[in-house]
């Protein structure tokens, strides 16, 4: 929903013309936000900055950490796995989530029920959900047992601790972040547009292609960005259900912290943050997405 636009709208609220004479009433929003801003500054911005600094001043001022990082084969592989997983998970969420969002918007009396079903896993801890997937996907888990019983396989297949397990579990966890922005965009489409399309000779499929899909792109863009950026930093789920050799960036960071390799961990964190920011920046420049982004902020 609005999570992805919050930083920008916050910036809008804070910035004001500097030329006007000082007016206490205009400072009220800033004063109201002040406790939170101070809190964020002390407990979030400063530690993050301090940590990021370590990537360039540990042991002395240098960019050597970055130079070695980009030549590091382990990093290259990890980076690739992270991007690959995030793309797959985002696509999976989009393909599975879009129809659900349409169903949610079209359902009348059923809508609250569908919403609860979508949000129910959302209210459960990621840890619990990841354990649940371990139970489901294990050698003697529900999925294997069901496939065996149906005679589709002869002996249990390995799902747990593979990239597939990571993808399945992450798609499950991230689906609400895709569904809700899309549903929100679909709900804002004027129903008379769909009637108009139909009356002007468009079949239901043509109406979807030419009217519903383009008009829901704001939601698709928001959902895709949100899901992708969240997927980039996923740690618990890939660590628990993923393969031992399929290490993501966040797992690598944790590993380095465990080994007290602070400079390397800080460099990795900086790269992860920069990747997320770069994706947001590029996405806003794309003509279609940028437009959608602006309309979703209004």
């Amino acid at each position: 929903m609005s999570e992805v636009v919050q930083p920008a709208s916050l910036a809008l609220a804070v910035s004001r013309p500097k030329t006007a004479p000082f007016d206490w009433r205009r400072a009220v929003p800033l004063l109201l936000a002040a406790p939170l801003l101070v809190y964020m500054l002390v407990f979030y911005a400063l530690p993050v900055a301090a940590m990021l600094l370590r990537s360039v001043n540990d042991p002395s001022w240098t960019l050597a950490n970055y130079a070695t990082l980009f030549e590091d084969v382990v990093f290259q592989k990890t980076f690739w796995i992270t991007i690959n997983t995030s793309v797959t998970v985002t696509l999976g969420c989009l393909i599975l989530g879009y129809p659900v969002a349409m169903g949610l918007v079209r359902a009348k009396s059923m809508a609250p029920f569908i919403l609860v079903v979508i949000l129910l896993p959302f209210w459960t801890s990621v840890l619990v959900r990841s354990y649940a997937w371990m139970v489901l996907l294990g050698r003697h888990g529900l999925v294997n047992e069901a496939l065996l019983a149906l005679g589709m396989i002869d002996r249990p297949i390995r799902i747990l601790n593979t990239p597939l397990a990571t993808q399945i579990a992450m798609i499950h966890i991230l689906l609400p972040y895709m569904i809700l922005p899309i549903a929100n965009a679909l709900r804002q489409i004027d129903p008379s547009l769909i009637r108009a399309a139909s009356g002007l000779g468009a079949t239901p499929f043509m109406t979807f292609r030419q009217v519903i899909l383009p008009l829901s792109m704001s939601g698709v863009a928001a959902g895709t960005l949100l899901t992708f950026v969240l997927a980039l930093g996923f740690y618990i789920t890939p660590a628990m259900v993923g393969g031992p050799r399929d290490i993501t960036l966040s797992m690598l960071i944790a590993q380095q912290v465990d080994q007290l390799n602070w400079a390397y961990a800080a460099t990795l964190s900086a790269v992860l943050l920069a990747t997320a920011l770069a994706i947001l920046a590029v996405a806003r420049k794309l003509p279609g997405v940028g437009n959608a982004f602006r309309t979703s902020m209004r």
Partner: protein
């Protein structure tokens, strides 16, 4: 579209036949019929307006013709062929919505070209037809703009261009001028009439604005409570309303309670406050029946003019002036008859006509031809 039967396809416009059309939203209560047995024959090339207050079933009827609503009972035939089972996108009907329903993500050109694209018309031909349609609504050169960059009136024209660009034989309009200001509405009313004459196709127009209906339509179907109260030309409805609802809804009417005393050919003689009043009547009411006579405020006169003794002043009534309002082009008087019935009289304002004062006693007169029994 498919060929009509019985020469129904003779004109450029489609003929539409509604037979006992019904629509119920709530199955549980039959009382909640949005449309209750509507039968209408709309001729090829006609400009027919469905006029009625909100909740009268006019929009629901239009939506059923377009195919957005399914009738609970009855039939809709276009050019003699039932379309009830046909989805809207196969009916080939042009439609203009109340809020225009322009696609916000498409330019004017793409909006107008939309129906052509669905019909697989190649791009070059599409561009030409779109340009022609925009020319028709006086908006050439606006093709590259987006709907949000246009004024309400311009958006409305684009919606009309889009609805006629694929040359449908039937155009439906659901209060298309409702959101515009009065001046613009009057201009566009004239333009709609011109468009109707140019295209020669059948128009079905829905409005709650009686003035709009009177100025634009060939025929008006007045709707009330899901039923057709009366169908006829604007003159028919104004001069010869069939019932009290039509008399009250179209223009202003005075209603006089009376008791039938006799018949003289086509004219019924009724007693109203001890005075005999003659009225036109299609039926033959029994003597002694309680009836209501109706007459228009502008057809009444104070009975002391030069014409007081003429044929046109056969009906007379004594009244007291209770209110006198000068309204520019005319004066409007509220009068009270002896039994307390309120009567409205409108008189052109003129230097040679004497203004009446409140409390003044007077006699009013009007013609038998302007008196209807409803």
């Amino acid at each position: 579209m498919g060929a009509g039967t019985n020469g129904a396809k003779s004109g450029r416009g489609a003929s539409v036949t509604l037979s006992n059309l019904e629509k119920t939203y709530d199955r549980a209560s039959a009382a909640a019929k949005a449309v209750d047995g509507v039968s209408l024959d709309i001729r090829s090339g006609e400009f027919l307006t469905m006029l009625g207050p909100s909740g009268s079933g006019k929009t629901t009827t239009l939506m059923m013709i377009a195919g957005f609503e399914t009738p609970t009972a009855g039939d809709i035939a276009i050019d003699g062929r039932s379309v009830v089972a046909m989805p809207p996108y196969r009916r080939n009907i042009g439609m203009v919505f109340q809020n225009y329903a322009l696609f916000p993500h498409l330019t004017v050109e793409e909006n107008v070209g939309f129906p052509l694209k669905q019909r697989g018309i190649p791009k070059a031909e599409r561009a030409k037809l779109v340009a022609d349609a925009l020319e028709l609504v006086h908006l050439p050169g606006y093709g590259a703009r987006y709907p949000r960059q246009l004024s309400g009136g311009q958006q409305q024209r684009v919606a009309v261009a889009r609805a006629v660009v694929f040359k449908p034989r039937l155009l439906l309009m659901d209060e298309p001028l409702g959101a515009l200001d009065k001046q613009l509405r009057e201009n566009l009313q004239l333009e709609m009439r011109r468009l109707h004459a140019d295209l020669g196709i059948t128009f079905i127009y829905v409005t709650h604005d009686q003035e709009e209906a009177l100025t634009m339509s060939d025929r008006i179907a007045v709707m009330n409570d899901g039923k057709v109260a009366q169908v006829g030309s604007p003159e028919d409805l104004y001069d010869r309303p069939d019932n009290r609802f039509v008399a009250g809804f179209i223009g202003e009417s005075n209603f006089l309670p009376a008791v039938v005393r006799g018949l003289e050919n086509d004219v019924v003689v009724a007693e109203c406050e001890g005075t005999l009043i003659r009225a036109l009547c299609p039926g033959r009411p029994a003597s002694g029946a309680k009836v209501t006579l109706t007459t228009r405020p502008e057809r009444l006169r104070f009975a002391d003019g030069a014409w007081a003794g003429t044929e046109a002043a056969q009906n007379r009534l004594s009244v007291t002036v209770t209110e006198a309002v000068f309204a520019g082009e005319r004066c409007r008087y509220m009068l009270r008859a002896a039994d307390g019935t309120s009567i409205v009289l409108k008189e052109p304002s003129s230097a040679v006509i004497r203004r009446r004062a409140v409390g003044e006693r007077a006699e009013i007169a009007w013609s038998v031809a302007d008196t209807i029994l409803v």
